[in-house]
Protein backbone atom coordinates (compact mmCIF):
# COMPACT_ATOMS: atom_id res chain seq x y z
CA UNK A 1 0.00 0.00 0.00
CA UNK A 2 1.31 3.42 0.83
CA UNK A 3 4.57 4.28 2.55
CA UNK A 4 4.52 5.47 6.07
CA UNK A 5 4.17 9.20 6.51
CA UNK A 6 7.51 10.99 6.68
CA UNK A 7 6.19 13.14 9.48
CA UNK A 8 7.88 12.75 12.83
CA UNK A 9 4.70 11.42 14.39
CA UNK A 10 4.63 8.38 16.63
CA UNK A 11 4.30 5.91 13.78
CA UNK A 12 7.56 6.88 12.08
CA UNK A 13 9.29 7.13 15.48
CA UNK A 14 8.73 3.44 15.84
CA UNK A 15 10.28 2.75 12.46
CA UNK A 16 13.35 4.62 13.62
CA UNK A 17 13.50 2.45 16.75
CA UNK A 18 13.43 -0.66 14.57
CA UNK A 19 16.21 0.74 12.42
CA UNK A 20 18.34 1.54 15.45
CA UNK A 21 17.85 -1.93 16.83
CA UNK A 22 18.84 -3.51 13.51
CA UNK A 23 21.88 -1.28 13.06
CA UNK A 24 23.19 -2.09 16.55
CA UNK A 25 22.57 -5.80 15.99
CA UNK A 26 24.39 -5.59 12.64
CA UNK A 27 27.34 -3.76 14.16
CA UNK A 28 27.69 -6.49 16.74
CA UNK A 29 27.44 -9.39 14.31
CA UNK A 30 29.68 -7.87 11.66
CA UNK A 31 32.32 -6.11 13.81
CA UNK A 32 31.76 -7.33 17.37
CA UNK A 33 31.11 -3.78 18.64
CA UNK A 34 28.31 -4.19 21.12
CA UNK A 35 26.19 -1.10 21.73
CA UNK A 36 22.99 -3.09 22.14
CA UNK A 37 22.68 -2.42 25.85
CA UNK A 38 23.88 1.13 25.97
CA UNK A 39 21.49 3.73 27.38
CA UNK A 40 19.28 4.17 24.37
CA UNK A 41 18.27 7.83 24.55
CA UNK A 42 21.74 9.10 23.90
CA UNK A 43 22.57 6.39 21.33
CA UNK A 44 19.45 7.45 19.46
CA UNK A 45 20.45 11.08 19.56
CA UNK A 46 23.93 10.33 18.28
CA UNK A 47 22.68 8.03 15.52
CA UNK A 48 20.33 10.79 14.38
CA UNK A 49 23.32 13.13 14.30
CA UNK A 50 25.38 10.60 12.34
CA UNK A 51 22.55 10.10 9.84
CA UNK A 52 22.20 13.83 9.27
CA UNK A 53 25.85 14.78 9.20
CA UNK A 54 26.96 11.84 7.08
CA UNK A 55 24.15 12.68 4.67
CA UNK A 56 21.85 9.66 4.88
CA UNK A 57 18.10 9.60 4.34
CA UNK A 58 17.55 6.97 6.98
CA UNK A 59 19.39 4.97 9.58
CA UNK A 60 18.88 1.84 7.49
CA UNK A 61 20.65 3.53 4.56
CA UNK A 62 23.53 4.30 6.90
CA UNK A 63 23.44 0.71 8.12
CA UNK A 64 23.77 -0.56 4.55
CA UNK A 65 27.01 1.30 4.00
CA UNK A 66 28.46 0.46 7.40
CA UNK A 67 27.86 -3.25 6.90
CA UNK A 68 29.39 -3.28 3.43
CA UNK A 69 32.28 -0.88 3.95
CA UNK A 70 34.62 -1.36 6.93
CA UNK A 71 36.05 2.11 6.33
CA UNK A 72 32.71 3.52 7.47
CA UNK A 73 33.07 1.90 10.87
CA UNK A 74 35.46 4.42 12.47
CA UNK A 75 33.28 7.24 11.20
CA UNK A 76 30.22 5.77 12.83
CA UNK A 77 32.14 4.95 16.01
CA UNK A 78 33.13 8.58 16.32
CA UNK A 79 29.43 9.29 16.80
CA UNK A 80 28.59 6.28 18.93
CA UNK A 81 31.37 6.84 21.45
CA UNK A 82 31.37 10.17 23.23
CA UNK A 83 34.87 11.64 23.32
CA UNK A 84 34.74 14.43 25.84
CA UNK A 85 37.53 14.77 28.37
CA UNK A 86 39.82 17.18 30.18
CA UNK A 87 43.18 17.02 31.92
CA UNK A 88 42.47 16.86 35.68
CA UNK A 89 38.74 16.97 34.94
CA UNK A 90 36.94 17.48 38.27
CA UNK A 91 39.99 18.61 40.24
CA UNK A 92 38.49 17.51 43.55
CA UNK A 93 38.54 13.90 42.33
CA UNK A 94 42.29 14.08 41.75
CA UNK A 95 42.76 15.89 45.04
CA UNK A 96 41.00 13.01 46.77
CA UNK A 97 43.18 10.49 44.91
CA UNK A 98 46.23 12.40 46.14
CA UNK A 99 45.11 12.71 49.72
CA UNK A 100 43.20 9.49 50.34
CA UNK A 101 44.43 6.89 47.87
CA UNK A 102 48.12 7.67 47.34
CA UNK A 103 49.04 7.05 51.01
CA UNK A 104 47.73 3.48 50.65
CA UNK A 105 49.43 2.95 47.30
CA UNK A 106 52.78 4.05 48.69
CA UNK A 107 52.93 0.85 50.72
CA UNK A 108 53.17 -1.34 47.59
CA UNK A 109 56.51 -2.03 45.89
CA UNK A 110 54.87 -2.16 42.47
CA UNK A 111 51.58 -0.85 41.20
CA UNK A 112 49.20 -1.38 38.32
CA UNK A 113 46.70 1.33 37.41
CA UNK A 114 43.92 0.93 34.85
CA UNK A 115 42.31 3.91 33.14
CA UNK A 116 39.27 2.25 31.54
CA UNK A 117 37.58 4.24 28.77
CA UNK A 118 40.55 6.63 28.62
CA UNK A 119 39.26 8.34 25.48
CA UNK A 120 41.82 10.73 24.00
CA UNK A 121 44.16 10.42 26.99
CA UNK A 122 43.52 13.48 29.14
CA UNK A 123 42.68 11.40 32.20
CA UNK A 124 45.74 9.20 31.68
CA UNK A 125 48.14 12.16 31.57
CA UNK A 126 46.53 13.52 34.71
CA UNK A 127 47.34 10.27 36.52
CA UNK A 128 50.89 9.95 35.23
CA UNK A 129 51.66 13.54 36.22
CA UNK A 130 50.10 13.04 39.62
CA UNK A 131 52.07 9.83 40.19
CA UNK A 132 55.28 11.55 39.09
CA UNK A 133 54.62 14.37 41.53
CA UNK A 134 54.03 11.84 44.28
CA UNK A 135 57.17 9.91 43.40
CA UNK A 136 55.31 6.74 42.43
CA UNK A 137 55.62 6.80 38.66
CA UNK A 138 58.69 4.56 38.46
CA UNK A 139 57.05 1.67 40.27
CA UNK A 140 53.78 1.94 38.37
CA UNK A 141 52.48 0.43 35.17
CA UNK A 142 49.55 2.31 33.61
CA UNK A 143 47.04 0.53 31.40
CA UNK A 144 45.02 2.88 29.22
CA UNK A 145 42.15 1.20 27.38
CA UNK A 146 39.26 2.20 25.16
CA UNK A 147 37.19 0.72 22.35
CA UNK A 148 37.76 3.68 20.05
CA UNK A 149 41.01 3.22 18.08
CA UNK A 150 41.15 6.82 16.91
CA UNK A 151 40.83 8.02 20.48
CA UNK A 152 43.58 5.63 21.58
CA UNK A 153 45.85 6.93 18.83
CA UNK A 154 45.26 10.47 20.05
CA UNK A 155 45.95 9.37 23.61
CA UNK A 156 49.22 7.88 22.48
CA UNK A 157 50.18 11.07 20.62
CA UNK A 158 49.33 13.27 23.61
CA UNK A 159 48.81 16.41 21.52
CA UNK A 160 45.96 18.80 22.29
CA UNK A 161 44.89 22.25 21.19
CA UNK A 162 46.94 24.81 22.98
CA UNK A 163 43.92 26.87 23.95
CA UNK A 164 42.77 24.01 26.19
CA UNK A 165 45.90 24.17 28.32
CA UNK A 166 44.73 27.16 30.28
CA UNK A 167 41.88 25.05 31.63
CA UNK A 168 44.19 22.05 32.11
CA UNK A 169 46.61 24.22 34.09
CA UNK A 170 43.84 25.63 36.25
CA UNK A 171 42.47 22.11 36.91
CA UNK A 172 45.94 20.82 37.77
CA UNK A 173 46.45 23.63 40.26
CA UNK A 174 43.04 23.02 41.88
CA UNK A 175 43.84 19.31 42.17
CA UNK A 176 46.74 20.14 44.49
CA UNK A 177 49.42 20.00 41.77
CA UNK A 178 52.93 20.18 43.18
CA UNK A 179 54.61 21.44 40.03
CA UNK A 180 53.77 23.57 37.04
CA UNK A 181 51.87 21.84 34.26
CA UNK A 182 54.15 23.62 31.78
CA UNK A 183 56.97 21.34 32.98
CA UNK A 184 55.24 18.49 31.17
CA UNK A 185 54.45 19.85 27.71
CA UNK A 186 55.90 21.88 24.91
CA UNK A 187 53.90 24.35 22.89
CA UNK A 188 54.23 24.84 19.17
CA UNK A 189 51.99 25.82 16.26
CA UNK A 190 48.88 26.15 18.35
CA UNK A 191 49.29 22.72 19.93
CA UNK A 192 50.57 21.49 23.25
CA UNK A 193 52.40 18.15 23.23
CA UNK A 194 52.89 16.17 26.43
CA UNK A 195 56.44 15.02 27.08
CA UNK A 196 56.95 11.51 25.75
CA UNK A 197 58.61 10.46 28.99
CA UNK A 198 55.10 10.52 30.47
CA UNK A 199 54.34 7.51 28.27
CA UNK A 200 57.34 5.42 29.35
CA UNK A 201 55.29 3.33 31.69
CA UNK A 202 51.99 3.26 29.79
CA UNK A 203 50.43 0.39 27.87
CA UNK A 204 47.68 1.45 25.46
CA UNK A 205 45.20 -1.15 24.35
CA UNK A 206 41.86 -1.86 22.83
CA UNK A 207 39.56 -3.28 25.48
CA UNK A 208 35.79 -3.32 25.79
CA UNK A 209 34.06 -3.33 29.15
CA UNK A 210 31.10 -4.97 27.42
CA UNK A 211 32.66 -7.86 25.57
CA UNK A 212 36.19 -8.40 26.99
CA UNK A 213 37.48 -10.05 30.16
CA UNK A 214 39.78 -9.15 33.03
CA UNK A 215 43.44 -8.95 31.95
CA UNK A 216 45.54 -8.15 35.07
CA UNK A 217 45.33 -7.49 38.78
CA UNK A 218 45.00 -3.77 39.49
CA UNK A 219 45.56 -1.57 42.53
CA UNK A 220 43.51 1.31 41.19
CA UNK A 221 40.93 1.46 38.43
CA UNK A 222 39.65 4.80 37.22
CA UNK A 223 36.63 4.58 34.96
CA UNK A 224 35.01 7.96 34.61
CA UNK A 225 31.99 8.93 32.54
CA UNK A 226 31.78 5.62 30.76
CA UNK A 227 29.18 3.79 32.86
CA UNK A 228 26.58 6.52 32.29
CA UNK A 229 26.37 5.34 28.68
CA UNK A 230 25.44 1.80 29.73
CA UNK A 231 22.11 0.45 30.88
CA UNK A 232 21.83 -1.01 34.37
CA UNK A 233 22.71 -4.68 33.56
CA UNK A 234 25.69 -3.54 31.51
CA UNK A 235 26.86 -1.32 34.35
CA UNK A 236 26.69 -4.39 36.57
CA UNK A 237 28.82 -6.35 34.13
CA UNK A 238 31.47 -3.64 33.99
CA UNK A 239 31.57 -3.15 37.76
CA UNK A 240 31.82 -6.95 38.15
CA UNK A 241 34.83 -6.84 35.85
CA UNK A 242 36.39 -4.12 38.01
CA UNK A 243 35.71 -6.09 41.14
CA UNK A 244 37.34 -9.18 39.69
CA UNK A 245 40.43 -7.35 38.53
CA UNK A 246 41.02 -5.34 41.70
CA UNK A 247 43.62 -6.50 44.18
CA UNK A 248 42.48 -6.92 47.78
CA UNK A 249 41.58 -3.46 49.07
CA UNK A 250 42.09 -2.01 45.62
CA UNK A 251 40.48 1.30 44.62
CA UNK A 252 37.80 2.16 42.08
CA UNK A 253 37.15 5.75 40.97
CA UNK A 254 34.03 6.72 39.01
CA UNK A 255 32.75 9.90 37.38
CA UNK A 256 31.31 12.64 39.58
CA UNK A 257 27.70 11.68 38.76
CA UNK A 258 28.22 7.93 38.78
CA UNK A 259 27.85 5.70 41.80
CA UNK A 260 27.56 2.11 42.91
CA UNK A 261 24.26 2.92 44.59
CA UNK A 262 22.14 1.08 42.07
CA UNK A 263 24.72 -1.63 41.39
CA UNK A 264 24.39 -5.29 42.28
CA UNK A 265 27.98 -5.10 43.53
CA UNK A 266 27.41 -2.33 46.09
CA UNK A 267 28.12 -4.69 48.96
CA UNK A 268 31.57 -5.55 47.64
CA UNK A 269 32.84 -2.00 48.04
CA UNK A 270 33.15 0.61 50.76
CA UNK A 271 33.03 4.32 50.11
CA UNK A 272 36.43 5.90 50.63
CA UNK A 273 35.56 9.37 49.36
CA UNK A 274 31.79 9.42 48.76
CA UNK A 275 31.62 12.93 47.26
CA UNK A 276 34.40 12.10 44.84
CA UNK A 277 33.06 8.64 44.01
CA UNK A 278 36.12 6.71 45.13
CA UNK A 279 35.45 3.19 46.40
CA UNK A 280 37.59 0.51 47.96
CA UNK A 281 37.13 -3.18 47.39
CA UNK A 282 36.24 -4.96 50.58
CA UNK A 283 38.16 -7.99 51.69
CA UNK A 284 36.47 -11.24 51.05
Amino acid sequence: MSEEPVSTGLLSERVEDIEIHLLLEGLYRRYHYDFRNYAQASIKRRLRQAREQLGYRSISALQHDVLHDPDMLPRLLSYLTVQVSEVFRDPSYFKAIREKVIPHLRTYPSLRIWIAGCSTGEELYSFVILFREEGLEQRTLFYATDINQDALAKAEAGIYDLDRFQLFTENHRKSGGKSSLSDYYTAAYGKGAFDKSLRNRVVFSDHSLVTDAVFAEMHLISCRNVLIYFDRPLQDRAVGLFKDSLARKGFLGLGSKESLRFSQHTASFSELAPGDKIYQRLDR
Binding site: T8, A39, A41, S42, R45, V84, I228, Y229, K257, F262
Partner: protein
Protein backbone atom coordinates in the same frame (compact mmCIF):
# COMPACT_ATOMS: atom_id res chain seq x y z
CA UNK B 1 -9.49 25.94 31.40
CA UNK B 2 -7.80 22.67 30.59
CA UNK B 3 -8.41 21.47 27.05
CA UNK B 4 -6.85 18.13 27.75
CA UNK B 5 -9.99 16.56 29.14
CA UNK B 6 -10.87 15.04 25.75
CA UNK B 7 -7.61 13.23 25.49
CA UNK B 8 -7.67 9.53 26.04
CA UNK B 9 -4.35 9.45 27.87
CA UNK B 10 -3.63 11.52 30.95
CA UNK B 11 -0.53 13.71 30.88
CA UNK B 12 2.53 11.85 32.12
CA UNK B 13 5.34 14.34 32.61
CA UNK B 14 6.39 17.96 32.39
CA UNK B 15 9.72 19.24 31.12
CA UNK B 16 10.93 22.78 31.76
CA UNK B 17 13.82 24.71 30.22
CA UNK B 18 15.05 28.06 31.46
CA UNK B 19 18.18 30.15 31.42
CA UNK B 20 18.80 33.78 32.38
CA UNK B 21 16.14 34.72 34.93
CA UNK B 22 15.36 31.08 35.65
CA UNK B 23 15.51 31.28 39.43
CA UNK B 24 12.88 33.99 39.62
CA UNK B 25 10.58 32.26 37.14
CA UNK B 26 10.88 28.85 38.80
CA UNK B 27 10.34 30.41 42.22
CA UNK B 28 6.96 31.54 40.99
CA UNK B 29 6.03 28.07 39.73
CA UNK B 30 7.46 25.21 41.74
CA UNK B 31 6.51 26.27 45.30
CA UNK B 32 2.84 26.40 44.27
CA UNK B 33 2.64 22.71 43.48
CA UNK B 34 1.09 20.57 46.24
CA UNK B 35 2.92 17.67 47.84
CA UNK B 36 0.65 15.15 46.11
CA UNK B 37 1.24 16.63 42.66
CA UNK B 38 0.90 13.58 40.40
CA UNK B 39 3.34 14.42 37.61
CA UNK B 40 7.12 14.33 37.51
CA UNK B 41 8.89 17.51 36.41
CA UNK B 42 12.25 17.44 34.67
CA UNK B 43 14.15 20.70 34.56
CA UNK B 44 17.17 22.03 32.71
CA UNK B 45 18.53 25.35 33.85
CA UNK B 46 21.69 26.64 32.23
CA UNK B 47 24.26 27.03 34.91
CA UNK B 48 28.02 27.40 34.81
CA UNK B 49 29.64 23.96 34.69
CA UNK B 50 31.99 24.55 37.62
CA UNK B 51 29.13 25.56 39.88
CA UNK B 52 28.26 22.93 42.45
CA UNK B 53 24.72 21.77 42.18
CA UNK B 54 22.86 24.34 44.20
CA UNK B 55 19.51 24.38 42.44
CA UNK B 56 17.99 21.28 43.95
CA UNK B 57 19.01 22.37 47.46
CA UNK B 58 17.66 25.83 46.90
CA UNK B 59 14.22 24.65 45.79
CA UNK B 60 13.99 21.69 48.14
CA UNK B 61 13.43 24.02 51.06
CA UNK B 62 10.85 26.13 49.25
CA UNK B 63 8.73 23.40 47.71
CA UNK B 64 6.09 20.92 48.85
CA UNK B 65 6.94 18.48 46.08
CA UNK B 66 10.26 16.76 46.45
CA UNK B 67 13.10 18.31 44.52
CA UNK B 68 16.42 16.71 43.74
CA UNK B 69 19.29 16.56 41.37
CA UNK B 70 18.82 13.82 38.78
CA UNK B 71 20.93 10.69 39.22
CA UNK B 72 22.00 8.36 36.48
CA UNK B 73 19.61 5.39 35.94
CA UNK B 74 17.10 6.49 38.55
CA UNK B 75 13.43 5.70 37.89
CA UNK B 76 11.30 8.82 37.45
CA UNK B 77 8.83 9.28 40.33
CA UNK B 78 5.58 11.27 40.29
CA UNK B 79 5.44 14.45 42.32
CA UNK B 80 9.17 14.97 42.05
CA UNK B 81 11.16 17.68 40.34
CA UNK B 82 14.56 16.68 38.96
CA UNK B 83 17.23 19.20 38.05
CA UNK B 84 19.89 18.28 35.50
CA UNK B 85 23.30 18.33 37.21
CA UNK B 86 25.78 20.97 36.06
CA UNK B 87 27.98 19.87 33.14
CA UNK B 88 25.84 16.84 32.20
CA UNK B 89 22.99 16.44 29.77
CA UNK B 90 19.86 14.86 31.22
CA UNK B 91 17.93 12.35 29.09
CA UNK B 92 14.79 10.27 29.55
CA UNK B 93 14.88 6.61 28.59
CA UNK B 94 12.00 4.70 27.04
CA UNK B 95 11.40 2.89 30.36
CA UNK B 96 11.07 6.24 32.16
CA UNK B 97 14.40 6.16 33.89
CA UNK B 98 16.91 9.00 33.69
CA UNK B 99 20.35 8.94 32.17
CA UNK B 100 23.16 11.46 32.11
CA UNK B 101 25.60 12.16 29.33
CA UNK B 102 28.70 14.29 28.97
CA UNK B 103 28.54 14.61 25.20
CA UNK B 104 29.25 17.97 23.54
CA UNK B 105 27.42 21.07 24.69
CA UNK B 106 24.49 22.16 22.51
CA UNK B 107 24.40 25.92 21.82
CA UNK B 108 27.27 26.16 24.32
CA UNK B 109 25.12 24.58 27.02
CA UNK B 110 25.52 21.40 28.99
CA UNK B 111 22.96 20.58 30.24
CA UNK B 112 20.94 21.35 27.14
CA UNK B 113 17.20 21.87 27.03
CA UNK B 114 16.94 20.44 23.51
CA UNK B 115 18.60 17.19 24.59
CA UNK B 116 16.17 16.72 27.47
CA UNK B 117 13.11 17.71 25.43
CA UNK B 118 13.92 15.47 22.47
CA UNK B 119 14.51 12.39 24.58
CA UNK B 120 11.44 13.10 26.73
CA UNK B 121 9.32 13.53 23.58
CA UNK B 122 10.44 10.06 22.46
CA UNK B 123 9.68 8.55 25.83
CA UNK B 124 6.34 10.23 26.61
CA UNK B 125 4.87 11.22 23.23
CA UNK B 126 1.51 12.94 23.69
CA UNK B 127 1.77 12.57 27.45
CA UNK B 128 4.42 15.28 27.62
CA UNK B 129 4.04 18.98 28.32
CA UNK B 130 7.05 21.15 27.53
CA UNK B 131 7.65 24.64 28.92
CA UNK B 132 10.19 27.15 27.66
CA UNK B 133 10.73 30.02 30.08
CA UNK B 134 12.97 33.05 30.20
CA UNK B 135 16.46 32.89 28.67
CA UNK B 136 18.91 34.69 26.42
CA UNK B 137 19.68 32.03 23.82
CA UNK B 138 17.89 29.62 21.49
CA UNK B 139 18.21 26.32 23.35
CA UNK B 140 14.85 24.59 23.75
CA UNK B 141 13.26 25.81 20.53
CA UNK B 142 13.96 22.68 18.49
CA UNK B 143 13.20 20.47 21.45
CA UNK B 144 9.81 22.10 21.90
CA UNK B 145 9.03 21.46 18.24
CA UNK B 146 9.94 17.80 18.74
CA UNK B 147 7.48 17.63 21.63
CA UNK B 148 4.67 19.03 19.48
CA UNK B 149 5.58 16.73 16.58
CA UNK B 150 5.30 13.76 18.93
CA UNK B 151 1.80 14.88 19.95
CA UNK B 152 2.70 16.64 23.19
CA UNK B 153 1.78 20.10 24.43
CA UNK B 154 4.03 23.16 24.12
CA UNK B 155 3.90 26.21 26.35
CA UNK B 156 6.13 29.27 26.16
CA UNK B 157 6.42 32.05 28.69
CA UNK B 158 5.16 35.29 27.20
CA UNK B 159 8.32 37.15 26.17
CA UNK B 160 6.77 40.39 27.41
CA UNK B 161 6.92 39.35 31.03
CA UNK B 162 10.15 37.37 30.70
CA UNK B 163 13.45 38.52 32.22
CA UNK B 164 15.22 37.56 28.97
CA UNK B 165 13.21 37.33 25.77
CA UNK B 166 15.45 35.51 23.27
CA UNK B 167 14.69 31.99 24.40
CA UNK B 168 10.88 32.28 24.45
CA UNK B 169 11.00 34.17 21.16
CA UNK B 170 13.12 31.48 19.50
CA UNK B 171 10.74 28.83 20.84
CA UNK B 172 7.68 30.63 19.46
CA UNK B 173 9.35 31.10 16.08
CA UNK B 174 10.25 27.42 15.87
CA UNK B 175 6.97 26.24 17.30
CA UNK B 176 4.08 28.54 16.39
CA UNK B 177 1.53 26.09 17.85
CA UNK B 178 2.84 26.73 21.35
CA UNK B 179 0.49 28.33 23.87
CA UNK B 180 1.92 31.62 25.03
CA UNK B 181 1.26 32.35 28.70
CA UNK B 182 2.32 34.56 31.54
CA UNK B 183 3.94 32.92 34.54
CA UNK B 184 0.65 33.26 36.45
CA UNK B 185 -1.24 31.46 33.69
CA UNK B 186 1.41 28.78 33.56
CA UNK B 187 1.03 28.23 37.31
CA UNK B 188 -2.71 27.86 36.98
CA UNK B 189 -2.26 25.53 34.03
CA UNK B 190 0.17 23.26 35.87
CA UNK B 191 -2.08 23.11 38.92
CA UNK B 192 -4.96 22.18 36.63
CA UNK B 193 -2.97 19.42 34.96
CA UNK B 194 -2.42 17.93 38.36
CA UNK B 195 -5.92 18.45 39.67
CA UNK B 196 -7.55 16.61 36.77
CA UNK B 197 -5.06 13.82 36.82
CA UNK B 198 -6.40 10.33 37.55
CA UNK B 199 -3.23 9.41 39.41
CA UNK B 200 -3.62 12.17 41.90
CA UNK B 201 -5.16 10.36 44.80
CA UNK B 202 -3.79 6.93 44.15
CA UNK B 203 -0.22 8.02 44.91
CA UNK B 204 0.83 10.23 47.72
Amino acid sequence: MSDRSHQALPPEAIVIGASAGALQALSELLPLLPADYPLPILIVVHIRPDRDSVLAHLFQSKCAISVREAEDKEPIQPGTAYFAPPDYHLLVEQDHTLSLSSEEPVFFSRPSIDVLFESAADAYGEGLTGLVLTGANQDGALGLKTIVDAGGTAIVQNPQGAYATAMPEAAIAQCPQAKIMTIEDISAYLLDLGRNHPGRNSRA
